[in-house]
Amino acid sequence: MFENSEIAQDDLPQVDSVSWLGMDEKFVRRLLAENALALGFVIIGIVFLQFVISTAFADDNVNISLGWLWLMIPVAAVPFFVWPSISVPRKGYALRDKDIIYKSGVFWRTVTAIPFNRIQHVEQSSTPLDRHFEIATLQIFTAGGSGGDLKIHGLPATVAEQLRVFILDKVGASIERR
């Protein structure tokens, strides 16, 4: 006989009572490095533009100044370099027996929970910059895939690999049970 006895809400495991694990401590530095690189490219671009303009109009005695562009750099750089140390500490993940939980966001705080028995596949990836800091991204795919699949960026590479194996193991187990 099929039974479905009622369960009190307080008896259910609560997502908010988990202890969160933070991202890799090198993650802030990795994001800063990426931003620094991007800024470096922008500076190179402006220098090149200045060079092109000055050679093109060298004969015409026209002095075109790109001063305002140079001014933009420190203005843009401040949020670029402050943001990672604000956002990274607010990211976190937690593993439970039957699901994985991920939180992120500074202004819009989101907590996402994915049960293992709904995961289609798991992907681990890393860019060259990630590898330099021994960091990896774990991407978890569920069916439908609307609204983008869950991406956890900033895990230590070893942890990401362990998580991938662990989750796949759990996913496989849940399939067999069916």
């Binding site: 006989m1 099929f2 369960i7 809400q9 259910l12 495991p13 609560q14 997502v15 908010d16 039957k98 699901d99 966001g105 202004f107 819009w108 705080r109 989101t110 907590v111 996402t112 929970a113 994915i114 049960p115 293992f116 028995n117 709904r118 569920t142 069916a143 439908g144 895939g145 609307s146 609204g147 869950l150 049970r177 069916r178």
Partner: protein, 509 residues
């Protein structure tokens, strides 16, 4: 490939060429310019008079497409293996498709007049995942389609045997092999479907500003002409033009309405919804009979919609959504184009069985609870006050005090937002959830908790101050957003649904 293997591969009927011809013409219609360009080059390059050249080009075109269609037929081979359908196709680019039976979400068949005369159908095998993984079996015997359907039904039964057990335990009569007709639509219904088709009314809404524009433009012209024109009758002539334009537009509108009624007949004529054990099957169509079957276990969400016209007719449109690949428009739905409010509970019962008995799809039901009223305030702020004041401030430089007119957007927006707010309603039961929303009409989406793929709870800064949150459920058929609910309740619901998913032994697909 050994000789024995080769013998196992089957050809479809040569009439499959018709199917491919249709596909080729569809593709040409989709990218008309690149495909027809060579033809035009041919047309210009050949000598002789124009009629001759056109006839020549047309015959080349027809011969090429027919040859292409026959080649595609010739290189198409299929085989029904023990637990999968194997397809080998492609003239230049070879495609090998192995579709496992348990991956097949639904089987739909199409039968045009020629196929009907020869007892053939085109089968489409919908799989979960990308649209490219879809299998077509063009022009095969009807008996094969039936056999495949039966095979997939059995596959579903082994998966959902537990599900059956629960519904049997409910003491419900389950007649094996008993196909029951749930719903039939007649000619008058086709009229309603055609009239309530969105296309006609979207066009009307789009047209409204255009009519206004023409009206103004001609109005201005009349003023100018009255002053400037040296001859009599210009005013009358302009008025005549306006009337003519209006007539053309009205005629066009009438054409679209008639076209959508004809479309309804073509698509849904003698529509029938049949429940056959674990399968829901819809058939309908005038020239081409469309058949769509879906396993009940594969249905992810059920959506009942009632637009403006359907509200007048007091009817609903029901869609049973299946898993989609995430890209919009790729989801497969079983559509019931028209049903009476009284039929909704019956259809729900057929789809959800004993699993979700307290589901309500009628939007006026008292069971729906409103969302938090702070929704109104924050939405008006975000979509009304902030953009309107910003634009008014910006525009005050060139327009002066007239820029204040932009502030009129705020009351319009407030009206719209309060309407949206009143349409929102949530019904969370022990087994599933139903969300009501809408603007002009209603849309009620219902799903079982165990079909949810993942859940997120999001809080914005103001929401955090007031202890509110936005819940989002991701299902294989798309996501469902429940905005502005109590944070504590949202967390409780999430924890409960996670428990339901994780303790569910049933497959979600």
């Amino acid at each position: 490939m050994s000789v024995a293997d080769q013998e196992n591969w089957l050809h479809t009927s040569p009439l499959a060429a018709i199917f491919y011809l249709g596909k080729i013409y569809q593709n040409i219609a989709k990218n008309a310019i690149p495909t027809l360009a060579p033809l035009f080059v041919l047309l210009l390059a050949t000598e002789g008079d124009l009629t001759y050249r056109i006839i020549f080009a047309l015959s080349v075109f027809v011969i090429l497409t027919i040859t292409g269609a026959f080649l595609q037929y010739w290189f198409f081979r299929y085989r029904i293996a023990e637990n999968s359908v194997l397809i080998r196709e492609g003239v230049f680019k070879k495609t090998q498709l192995d579709i496992k039976f348990d991956r097949i979400q639904a089987i739909s068949t199409q039968q045009n007049i020629v196929f009907r005369a020869f007892g053939l159908v085109s089968i489409k095998l919908d799989t979960a995942g990308s649209a490219k993984q879809e299998g077509h079996l063009p022009a095969v015997k009807t008996s094969l389609a039936d056999a495949l359907k039966e095979r997939i039904r059995r596959e579903a039964q082994t998966i959902s045997s537990t599900r059956k057990a629960t519904s049997d335990a409910d003491g419900e009569e389950h007649s094996e092999n008993g196909a029951r007709t749930l719903l039939k639509l007649d000619g008058a219904d086709m009229l309603k479907i055609g009239l309530s088709s969105n296309r006609a009314w979207v066009f009307l809404v789009l047209l409204a500003p255009a009519i206004e524009y023409f009206d103004q433009k001609f109005g201005d012209n009349i003023d100018k002409q009255v002053v400037l024109s040296a001859f009599e009758g210009a005013e009358a002539r302009v008025a005549g033009v306006i009337v003519l334009v209006m007539m053309i537009l009205l005629g066009f509108l009438l054409f679209i309405v008639i076209a959508s009624i004809v479309g309804a007949f073509l698509r849904y004529h003698r529509f029938e919804l049949v429940a056959d054990n674990d399968v829901l099957r819809s058939t309908g169509g005038l020239l081409t009979r469309h058949e769509h079957s879906v396993n009940l276990a594969k249905i992810q969400t059920v959506v009942a919609t009632q637009g403006f016209m359907l509200r007048l007719f007091k009817r609903f449109r029901l869609r049973a959504k299946q898993a989609s690949s995430g890209r919009p428009g790729t989801g497969k739905n079983l559509v019931v184009p028209l049903c009476e409010p009284g039929q909704l509970p019956m259809l729900c019962h057929e789809i959800f069985g004993a699993e979700f008995t307290d589901v309500v799809l009628e939007p006026t039901a008292a069971a729906f609870l409103p969302i938090d009223k702070h929704y109104v305030r924050s939405r008006i702020m975000l979509t009304g006050i902030l953009p309107a004041t910003a634009i008014a401030a910006l525009m005050s430089i060139p327009l002066g005090p007239y820029a204040l007119l932009f502030l009129l957007w705020i009351p319009i927006d407030a009206f719209g937002v309060s309407r949206l707010y009143r349409r929102y309603g949530v019904l969370a039961t022990a087994d599933g959830l139903a969300l009501r929303r809408g603007f002009i009409g209603y849309q009620v989406t219902a799903f079982l908790h165990r079909k949810v793929q993942r859940i997120s709870v999001t809080q914005t800064l103001p929401q955090r101050r007031r202890g509110l949150a936005t819940l989002r459920f991701y299902l294989a058929s798309g996501s469902v957003k429940v905005p502005y609910v109590d944070f504590k309740k949202a967390c409780e619901l999430r924890d409960y649904i996670l428990y339901r998913i994780e303790s569910s032994e049933l497959a979600w697909h």
